[in-house]
Symmetry: C2
Subunit: 164 residues, 2 copies
């Protein structure tokens, strides 16, 4: 079996001496749970914010009111602002964010169930990817965590340059 | 199989029209993950804070500096302040908190691995329980989530009166 993503990520962060923080919407805490399943994660994981409501996104992550009402909670702009907000709120080097519609409810005509944005923010730039999951609620949460941890590993390996 | 704790809790919170927020240390996000595995949880779950570091506990949950340095992060007083901090930060009716040593590292002579405080805070009062888990890291995290959700169900069922 391949080494678990969170263990690979932990080794890479330890090598680089970088700290991370998370901003979670539809994953509800699963990113933090997965990251902290790796023993010793307290050296690079500072914590995070689980922000289900609009108000929590604004109050705790400093997502702009205008961003939420203009683009919606499940949008590229909100994902990027959440990642940046987590990084700043926790004083971490890197912020990770997921915002999506895990289902079974909550789907919209232009944003069906499974629509999910993942984002990473560092002092060097922001990265964001859109995914469309086809699983049930529980699977969609797992896919989203895998996607944001994979994005972060890619960023750390310098396979990507900032878009934002 | 008995109905899952998070589903029972969701029904009870919906009946009562109460909202909750979480403050997680050693559970790393697992409380939020478990609570949000129940579809429709966004009606009563506002979000939470994952606070691994002392600084995160102070900045995001308003835990007093003196409490942390006098009693330690794994203490009854810190657990109660975390639960209250989550409730206030998210503007929820009830706050839940867990702070403990999941292991394998981090044990102290007077606080061995598995030492865990769980707490609930409402406008009516605070409740806190001490547990000593004997599992591995992953099990200790699961036991802690079960313990804090069970404590909250007890509080909601009025089987307890405030101690604090």
């Amino acid at each position: 079996m391949a080494e678990q993503l969170e263990v690979r990520l932990g080794k890479r962060l330890t090598e680089l001496g970088k700290t991370i923080a998370v901003a979670e919407s539809c994953t509800g805490g699963l990113i933090g749970h997965r990251v902290t399943d790796a023993p010793g994660s307290s050296t690079y994981f500072l914590g995070g914010v689980i922000a289900y409501s609009y108000e929590a996104k604004e109050r705790l992550l400093n997502v702009r009111h205008r961003t939420l009402y203009e683009f919606g909670a499940v949008s590229e702009k909100t994902a990027r602002e959440m990642a940046r907000g987590a990084r700043r709120a926790l004083g971490a080097d890197i912020g990770l964010a997921v915002t999506g519609i895990a289902g079974p409810g909550g789907g919209l005509p232009d944003k069906p169930v499974g629509t999910t944005w993942v984002a990473v923010s560092s002092r060097e730039g922001d990265w964001a990817h859109l995914h469309q999951w086809e699983g049930d609620r529980s699977q969609n949460k797992m896919y989203s965590v895998d996607a944001v941890l994979t994005l972060l590993l890619d960023v750390l390996d310098n396979e990507m340059t900032p878009e934002g």
